[in-house]
């Protein structure tokens, strides 16, 4: 289904600019190529445009009025602005800052929510297989396999977030977007999710926005540093953290502004 061509980057962002209404652009001429089967972190101080950039990848910004976008993003060779948004979003998974399992659905149905919403009919054993497989990938299967039909909201914060990750990967997305996925979790849950993300990169490609540079340092392979809408630096994580090329990156990493 996915053409694994190593000469085409997973995500090729070219000269992307995003502005809200008449104001200054939130994202300014960003260009970057994101690699597969790796964790790429986007970090930067509040308001630098990292979430805006992330949300452009699945065109979530189109839900809100008055957003103008220039430039292009190619997903495995396809221009995301030239296909239907609903098709794009099947290929791109997203996990949000605050865990948001659907409250009226059971754990089982939450994992399958993407299929249900898209109107895809599955047979019982196909459903069971997807649920078990997704929940196993997030290391939750053993914990919840006997209570699959309870509501998702009975789980703890960390478990809910892992359920949301399971829901996103149930579609086998080409790229998984995560918008500060651990900022609403306690340290123990955070650490569990971070370990999970490192495991997931063996099969999936992750683009992770984080406000916590320690997290970027811990788990990401590549890092982008954004400041005031610009992509200031983009490099292999270990290299950027030890020898940043740009003064602004250095200032951020040494805590001069946050």
């Amino acid at each position: 289904m996915i053409q694994q061509q190593d000469n085409i980057p997973l995500l090729d962002i070219k000269d992307l600019s995003i502005a809200y209404g008449e104001g200054p652009p939130a994202v300014k001429n960003v260009s970057a190529a994101v690699n597969r089967e790796a964790i790429t972190a986007i970090m930067g101080p509040s308001g630098c445009g990292k979430s805006t950039l992330l949300r452009a990848v699945n065109r979530l910004h189109e839900l809100y009025p008055n957003v103008s976008v220039n430039g292009s993003i190619m997903l495995n060779g396809t221009n995301i602005f030239e296909i239907e948004a609903i098709d794009l979003r099947r290929r791109v998974g997203m996990v949000f800052q605050r865990p948001n399992p659907f409250p009226t659905l059971s754990i089982y149905d939450n994992v399958l929510a993407g299929y249900k919403l898209n109107g895809i009919g599955l047979k019982r054993d196909e459903k069971d297989h997807i649920v078990e497989s997704s929940l196993s990938s997030v290391y939750m299967w053993e914990e919840v396999k006997d209570s699959l039909h309870r509501r998702g909201t009975f789980l703890s914060g960390g478990q809910q977030q892992r359920l949301c990750i399971a829901r996103a990967i149930a579609f086998n997305p080409e790229v998984l977007l995560l918008d500060e996925p651990t900022s609403a979790l306690d340290p123990v849950a955070t650490s569990k999710v971070e370990d999970l993300l490192v495991e997931l990169k063996k099969e999936y490609s992750l683009l992770l926005v984080t406000h916590n540079m320690g997290q970027a340092a811990r788990i990401s392979d590549y890092s982008m540093f954004m400041y005031m809408g610009e992509l200031v630096e983009y490099d292999i994580t270990t290299k950027m953290f030890t020898k940043p090329s740009d003064k602004r990156t250095e200032a951020y990493l040494t805590g001069k502004f946050g």
């Binding site: 979530l60 839900l63 098709d87 949000f96 929510a113 919403l117 949301c164």
Partner: protein, 284 residues
Amino acid sequence: MVASDKITRGVLLSSSVLILLVAGGMILSLLKGSIPAFREFGPGFILSPHWDPTAGNERYGALPFITGTLVSSILALAICLPLSMSTSLFVAEYFDGSGWSKVISTMTDLLAGIPSIVYGLWGFYALRPVIVSLGLSDQGFGLFTSSIILAIMIVPYATSVSSEVIRMVPKELREAAYSLGATRWEVISGVVMPSARSGIVASYIMALGRALGETMAVTMLIGNSNRMPTGLFGPANTLASLIANEFGEAQGIKLSSLIALGLILFLITGLVNWTGKWLIKKIS
């Protein structure tokens, strides 16, 4: 200082007591006034289909009117459902925050301000001829015509609460659904409406409560027959419309029977409204 505060608190407390006394007094008066009828006709009064004021052979029963009330109100609710559901989605989802949303919700609120008698007039002069020309009924009176007017009258009540609960569905749930590739309608039907379900149901129960008690518009359109309704397009009466028509000149056992009908209406409406309020409390 303390003395004047005591007086103040006393005044505040006594007005709450006054409300309780009035409420209790209302129930007592209705009960007391109904007793002669129940003593004469027994509890079978409720299920008796006869309403016959012929002197010397008076026989009264509530069934034709309970039927009329329930059928017209439930049918009104059924008609109101698509109308008010669409309006709520328009105002709280599709055009939420825009000028169009404000215009439509203001107009819907204005619908609530129109007096019942004005609805009755419009129903009589504008709606009834349509029913007649469609061949549904000779003169255009009946349960169906009344239900249409009732439906329009209760739309604002159903819409205002439904819109509120739809708006309260968190943005994150919608975004999660969109991010899974759902279309707008799929997000609404798969996530927003199920999440808002209890509030929506409560709003319809309360709209039903309003419809049950409506008097003037119904009186002018229902055909005023005191027998069991024969069909949707034949004449009938509701508890409220019968009381409106016959109370002024009633005496004796007939008066007591009318008060008994009032008691029955009070209980039905009270039960429905209480259920709706209880549901709302449960979700908030």
